[in-house]
Amino acid sequence: MSERHVSAAVTITSDLGDARRVQDEIEEALQSNGYGERDIFSIRLALEEALVNAIKHGNQMDPNKKVTIDYVVNPELFQIRIEDEGPGFDPNDVPDPTDPENLDRPCGRGVFLIRNFMTSVEYHGRGNILIMSKVRNGTLEESE
């Protein structure tokens, strides 16, 4: 399997199916750059949460609003920028879902999972731009 740097810019509408197709493309790029199963699991999970947040909470599923995605995959690092057209939010206002009083709440774990599974996570703009990255840790332990 040859390593290849992938850099892409994609704009999608507020459609979760389109978001999943982008995730599939990224997963393919991660695999071709030798990322291990554990890294791919972490990135896939963070991507799902981030894109659902952008489409559902940011763009409120409005089909006229777009999500702009720029990502880079190389053998050392995965980095992505996701911008929605929503009102944004203050990530510091999101309650800690692991507080005993919040533990049984069925919502509010997306941002927390992103922070835990990625190496770096930053919100910009009015909270409608997310830049996150993951340094490749894993090896090709599961392949070939």
Partner: protein, 118 residues
């Protein structure tokens, strides 16, 4: 025969409903909603009180799916039932540990132990 796609395989072992997931990825919002509806139907319409969810086939799960599990746990708890989770992969188990849901939900290694956890 139902025309809708099967998402769960349910097997009754004694009074325990053992539920296996068909999908490897429980991510899609609509899919999660339907899985949630199917699980709640087991409790509210079919009267099951002991449910063992086997995740052996599941690779990915989003926070929306975690929300459904919490609601199912709460529902069963409120009527004197019990929810047990088993067969969770190492990566997926980390999600439960990080969110501290491993403290709230009963999680065991496999279905054999799960059947003895009620």
């Amino acid at each position: 025969m139902s025309q809708t796609r099967q998402r769960l395989i349910v097997e009754d072992i004694g009074d325990i409903a053992v539920v296996n997931f068909v999908d490897k990825k429980i991510l899609d919002e609509q899919n999660i909603q339907m899985i949630g509806d199917d699980l709640f139907r087991l409790v509210d319409e079919l009267g099951r009180r002991k449910i063992l969810l086997n995740f052996a086939n599941v690779q990915y799960m989003s926070s929306a799916a975690l929300g459904k599990l919490i609601r199912l746990h709460q529902r069963l708890h409120s009527i004197g039932g019990k929810l047990v989770l088993c067969g969770i992969s190492k990566d997926l188990y980390d999600v439960f540990v990080i969110t501290k849901l491993d403290k709230m939900l009963t999680i065991v290694k496999d279905d054999k132990i799960g059947l003895n956890s009620f």
